[in-house]
């Protein structure tokens, strides 16, 4: 059975180096920007060349690479990689009319740059892959590691995600209608549902293997589907739960990717209303904002929650009456069509 061990999450909230989920940092101009540490582990010359998404990913991986043996593979999720670098290079192309350009931004913008940098810094020749399937990139990376741990039961893997906000891509998504036109604070994101949400970013890195000893959480199952039919989302969830939970049992917490965009509400509603009053419901996007790999932030939250058995009040939408919190169902939705379920459980101590 795959387990989550130590993890690092660089987010807009207080998640690294210290974790404090009792307070919430506010968004500015509909952005929730990640708060970065100094990254003492990254050589200065290397750090200078890195864009934010690569820097966050490498920075988050360093504490884990120091603690654990060399990973048997690294599996990274990022929908877009270095968007700032991509646009910087695009600007160069226009500004210099395709003249002599410097390749730095081009190389940094490729979405496998984070996985590549980690491999280079640690001279690691093992399995190395970057999943980029938009709002399901993280779930695919997670499934990849689940398969790897079946193929190589003794192995240990680095799983991670990273995505950054860039002004230009924010603009593209804004005109496409995915972000709020009017200013809204993350703390008031759910007050007045409207079209669009706020932007976020972050990186998550976790060590995974099949060892229960010292594990922080158990990875039970993951399932994704593309559909715009809320009924099919419900059917997929029912099947997913019946395959992965003992018959008749429900999760102790449902953690949803509700983001204040009314277009996502039908899916969130159908998932929430499936469970009886005893099951508490929490949400996370007012903490991390919306981005393609935001569900990795939920995964990090779930790992924290099952360890202490306590849901930070700022996350709670509906209280429920469960006395413990051992099994968490994460439901995320990315722009209507991409849906994902992840089941995470506390580690059974024997």
């Amino acid at each position: 059975m795959p387990y989550f061990h130590q993890s690092v999450c660089i987010s807009p909230q207080n998640s690294f180096p210290e974790t404090d989920l009792s307070r919430i940092r506010e968004s500015k101009n509909n952005w929730l920007e990640a708060t970065e540490p100094d990254y003492p582990g990254i050589p200065a010359a290397v750090k200078r060349r890195m864009g934010k998404s690569v820097r966050m990913a490498v920075g988050a991986s360093i504490p884990l690479l120091k603690k654990f043996p060399p990973p048997d593979g690294m599996v990274i999720a990022t929908a877009n990689g270095g968007m700032e670098d991509c646009i910087r290079f695009l600007n160069q192309i226009h500004e210099y009319k395709e003249g002599l350009l410097t390749p730095g931004s081009f190389v940094q913008s490729t979405s496998n740059a984070a996985a590549a940098q980690i491999a280079i810094l640690t001279k690691n020749h093992n399995y190395n892959i970057t999943h980029v399937h938009r709002g399901l990139a993280f779930e695919n990376a997670l499934l990849d590691v689940v398969m790897l741990l079946k193929e190589n039961p003794q192995a240990g893997y680095l799983l991670g995600s990273t995505d950054e906000i860039s002004a230009y891509n924010y603009n593209i998504d804004r005109i496409a209608g995915w972000f709020r036109d009017e200013p809204v604070l993350n703390t008031g994101l759910f007050e007045k549902p409207a079209k669009g949400t706020i932007a976020g970013e972050g990186a998550f890195m976790v060590w995974m293997n099949n060892e229960r000893t010292a594990a922080q959480a158990e990875m039970m199952a993951v399932k994704t589907i593309h559909t715009v039919d809320p009924g099919l989302v419900l059917k997929t969830m029912e099947k997913f739960l019946s395959e992965n939970l003992p018959s008749g049992e429900t999760p102790d917490l449902v953690l949803t990717g509700e983001n204040g965009d009314i277009r996502m509400a039908p899916y969130i509603d159908i998932v929430e209303s499936y469970f009886n009053e005893s099951v508490p419901v929490a949400r996370f996007k007012h903490f991390c904002g919306e981005y393609c790999t935001a569900s990795s932030f939920a995964c990090w939250l779930a790992i924290q929650i099952v360890q202490c058995g306590f849901v930070p009040p700022l996350l709670i939408k509906k209280k429920g009456s469960r006395s413990s919190c051992k099994r968490i169902l994460i439901y995320n939705n990315y722009r209507d069509i991409q849906h994902a379920f992840i089941l995470i459980s506390a580690v059974e101590r024997v």
Binding site: A79, N80, G81, C86, I87, F89, L90, N91, Q92, I93, H94, K97, E98, G99, L101, T102, P103, F106, V107, T110, S111, N112, A113, A115, A116, Q117, A119, I120, T122, K123, N124, H125, N126, Y127, N128, I129, T130, H131, V132, H133, R134, L136, A137, N140, L143, D144, M147, K150, E151, Y168, N169, N171, I172, D173, I175, A176, T224, I225, H226, T227
Partner: protein, 396 residues
Amino acid sequence: MSRIFITGMGLISAIGDSVEENRDSLINEHCGIGHIRFYKTAYAGKLPTAEVKHTTDELNKKLFGTPDPSVTRTSLLALHAAGEAIRDSQLASKEISSAETALVGASTVGGMCLTDELYHDARARDGGTPYLSSYDYASVTLAIRERYGILGETATINTACSSSANAIIYGARLIRHGFAKRAIVGGADSLAKFTINGFNALNILSSKICAPFDRDRSGLNLGEGAAFLVLEKEEDLNGKKTYAELTGFGNKNDAYHASSNSPEGQGPYLSMMEALESSGLGPQDISYINAHGTGTENNDETESRAMLRLFDQVPPFSSTKSLTGHTLGAAGAMEAVFAIQSLVYQEMYPSLSFQHPIPETGLVPVLHYTRHFIRHVMSNSFGFGGNCSTLIFSKS
């Protein structure tokens, strides 16, 4: 562990619109590399590239009848190749759309082929082009998903120039682990201002037609295209025709530099080695190699060194990039199709523009179309970021 077979293939490139047209061009040494005609760049007339010989409008009309303005050239190429592969597999449309069908795409350019439109939309106050949701890599896979209503596992991979080799590996693993009954796997990339300027800034584009493995090679030529394959497991075949079996694969990292291979080709060596180990074969069992062979100084020498280390006697090898150009995210799947064709027809394809071997390694590729006994064939794909992948196909 299920054995994985290839039951359908589709391909579009500078040397043809179908798997068969591509084979004809390979046999007849029809090189697809030439002057830039179809996309706008200051390098037209200066840097040769391998374009698919249709305008984007033509591709759009062919596929959609009434052109869909939000579909990019990269997605159109992907739809074209995936369509051929799906028809070829003779799977019913209900089977294709079922939750048991996985779709794994790969791209390194995605919708950024529309470099100018992206530049515009990044600055627009409102309005924008029809492409607002089509710039990312996943847009390519999502276009196929939408056309066929696929409900199974869907993924997109970007490991630079080895992307679609990894899509094939990921699809095979999804089947073996029971997450899918069958998988449609492949990749697509189209030519873009973005990539031609990026590779040119790295000084690895040749102003001449590329000459893989030649002493005087001066860089690569970018190409475009798409290739998709249908994978099914042995238990489900029921006597169906198969082209080949995917018997081995390797994914390793060179862990040396962001945009060049280590001098001794450690990543390429390890990925070929892992592919052999996973197939249970020895180096002597490989009959033929479709090499990565980009025509850059760095790749061809380091790939040669890796082959020399792994094989006592290096098997015949060619670089079909000398005809198709380097199609980046499509290259792994495209060359997998060529490797499979060589198994099916027991033949080897030419590596063009070669004159003198690299003095340090002395290797000479296959220079002309040659009939040859082929039992197991290897296909290499190496990318920026050290991402090296190798596939082995065997006669079914």
